[in-house]
């Protein structure tokens, strides 16, 4: 039993929520928020706050948070900007533990919003109220049936997202869900007037339901602290960051979005590597990495074995592997002999190992077992298509992946035909990608992660 809980605990595990600006009008955000909370299955006490009183979703509304007789853990503010400061003052008076302000019109709109944000920041300084936002889309915790967001709800799982874009929460939910994985906690961080990316990283690092921590960021508000926490958190679970605003034009776009100022981007490449953070270059990488990191584990070297049942994909995979910095070495003579004992004479066993087309699904497993004795660190199996034996093939790959010590990745080139099989492989922790290149981009990051975990730099601190 924890005696000291993190200050963000009431944000993600509230027992009571007040929705300030709750509404029965379907056009209002206050309506959507109530609906999401109720549909999400929130089990705690819910208090709509509306000056007009009455009922919202058949729950009696209070005219003000101060009129609620019970303690409130979390206040969700869906009110106009000029009502934020007075409402936050009421929250402070009521000793509310956490608050989420979705309202826009602060730093992101320029000077006038700047002043409003500074005023809000000052008000919160020295208090114990932890406020998310402003200018955010809310947050959710799938493990406590809490959907306090205005975005799509993802299936339940173990990837946690912190996003400086509300809409990306929905895109992420959709993408990750489509691949058969799920989200633990998703947070739209907004303008970070109080809760910063460092605070959330600190919380998620110790959160048992989170196995992969992912960030979409446009700037760092507490950069040094973020990196310092990451250094220690990365030893527990992988951290993926997609940091946007890498170009001058991109930075200009961010200023209007969340009013953030960005520094020199390439310095972050270095800083992230020092902290063990894996940086996604593109949105595709971001999804692919979250998926791969959820299913696989760090790779402790760059010697790779490529197994294929057709020439072309093997060649493509080999080129891609070399570009990603992998070493492709021939297997030992003994392994070659063992492979030749059952593979046809026209097969090639020099790495890539091309078994040539076969319906003998046992060949995949047997080959992998033989090759796993080589001093190699990971395997990529490429499969173009196998309409007749796909289930058996999936079984054999799952078995193979359990038997060999090295992480195994699969590039199955006809994903459209095999949706169910892909899900099945994902369920059994075998990562599958539609092309070798995409698999190898992720594997390269796992090699980087492995190198960092084993490297001597962890004995010295930075930042």
């Amino acid at each position: 039993m924890e005696i000291l809980k993190h200050s963000l605990h009431p944000l993600f595990n509230p027992r009571s929520i007040a929705v300030v600006g709750a509404s029965s009008d379907p056009e209002k955000i206050g309506f959507l928020m109530m609906r999401h909370l109720l549909e999400g299955g929130f089990k705690g006490r819910l208090y709509p706050i509306n000056p007009k009183g009455g009922e919202v979703f058949e729950i009696p509304a209070f005219p003000s948070i101060l009129k609620i007789p019970d303690p409130i853990d979390l206040a969700i503010l869906v009110i106009p900007r000029n009502a934020i400061i007075p409402t936050v003052k009421e929250c402070l008076e009521k000793d509310v533990k956490a608050a989420v302000a979705l309202t826009a019109g602060f730093r992101e709109i320029g000077e006038e919003g700047d002043r409003a944000q500074d005023e809000l920041g000052l008000l919160l300084k020295g208090s114990r109220l932890r406020l998310l936002g402003p200018n955010c889309a809310g947050h959710l915790n799938n493990w406590s049936d809490l959907n306090a967001s205005i975005e799509l709800r993802p299936p339940k799982g173990h990837i946690s997202l912190v996003s400086q874009s509300g809409s990306l929460m929905s895109a992420f939910a959709s993408n990750i869900g489509m691949r058969g994985l799920g989200v633990a906690k998703s947070t739209s961080i907004g303008n970070k007037v109080n809760i910063s990316e460092a605070d959330l990283l600190e919380y998620l690092a110790d959160d048992e339901e989170t196995q992969v921590i992912s960030f979409y960021l446009e700037d760092l508000r507490e950069g040094r602290r973020f990196l310092k926490i990451a250094r220690s958190a990365s030893t527990k679970k992988p951290i993926v960051v997609l940091k946007a605003g890498r170009t001058k034009e991109g930075i200009r776009a961010t200023f209007s979005h969340t009013g953030a100022m960005a520094g020199e981007d390439r310095i972050l490449d270095g800083a992230f590597r020092q902290a063990g953070i894996l940086r996604a270059e593109t949105l595709d990488d971001f999804y692919d990495l979250c998926y791969g990191l959820s299913l696989s584990r760090p790779i402790y070297g760059n010697a790779i074995g490529i197994l294929s049942d057709a020439g072309g994909p093997g060649v493509i995979a080999t080129d891609a592997a070399v570009f990603q910095g992998f070493r492709i070495e021939a297997p030992s003579r003994e392994a070659q002999k063992d492979l030749r004992s059952f593979l046809p004479p026209i097969s090639s066993v020099m790495n890539p190992i091309d078994m040539t087309f076969t319906r003998e699904v046992t060949w995949y497993r047997r080959s992998l077992e033989i090759l796993s004795r080589e001093p190699w660190h990971s395997f990529l199996v490429t499969i173009p298509s196998h309409f007749k034996v796909k289930r058996e093939l999936a079984e054999t790959l799952i078995e193979g992946s359990r038997k060999i010590p090295q992480p195994l990745f699969v590039a199955w080139l006809s994903p459209w035909e095999i949706q169910e099989t892909l899900r099945y492989l994902t369920e059994h922790k075998v990562p599958v990608y539609p092309t070798p290149e995409r698999a190898l981009r992720v594997m390269e990051k796992l090699v980087q992660y492995g190198r960092w975990l084993r490297g001597p730099q962890r004995s010295k601190g930075s930042v």
């Binding site: 020199e264 310095i267 800083a271 020092q274």
Partner: protein, 228 residues
Amino acid sequence: MHPIIQQAFNGKRDLLEPECWEVLKSYDLPTPSYRWVLSSTQAKESALSLEFPMILKVVSPDIIHKTDVGGIIMGLRNPDEVEAGYKELERIIQKKRPESRWEGAILVKQLPKGREVILGKFEDPQLGPALMLGIGGIFTEILGDVVFRLLPLTSFDAQEMVSDLKFRSVLQGTRGEGPVDIEALYQAIFAFGRLIEENPVIKECDLNPIFLYEKGLYVVDARMSILR
């Protein structure tokens, strides 16, 4: 803090090149042997204790880009040429930058060309001081192949920086030239990191170029500005 840097800080001025070299030397960053000379006669005498060919470089707090004003004279093959070279330098500076403060010249051995790298200090407004590494010439200037690490640096960081360079194969030797002394480079990066860390009053610092050889390296040119 290094006493020379302390002095410069107190005097609200930047370092002169020979002062940079003294600081680098104390951090075990290899610099070529040099003499700081203040007259053509002194130059000629000092030439006897160094190796030919030699270079004379003007020392002046007001002249940053020496090559732009012809403030570097190369290929001096004997003491007479050194003496004449010094006088030539005086003439050039008098003509091109008569108003500059003239503090003599550095007489230094002309080093054979090595593979060039650049090391510099970069200050990030939020993250603080960082080191920048690049391969000299077009790789940095046109292709933008530079790598950063925040301070303090570990020796692992120094090694990883080099392998992060996109064009690191250039360091492995091309066109008949052998690979360079990578160990020496790692050590230089690490030492430079310590130098910057221990002297927080340094505003900007560039070691450009550094010549890398099959064995060892030399810092050929160095600049250091101090916070006011």
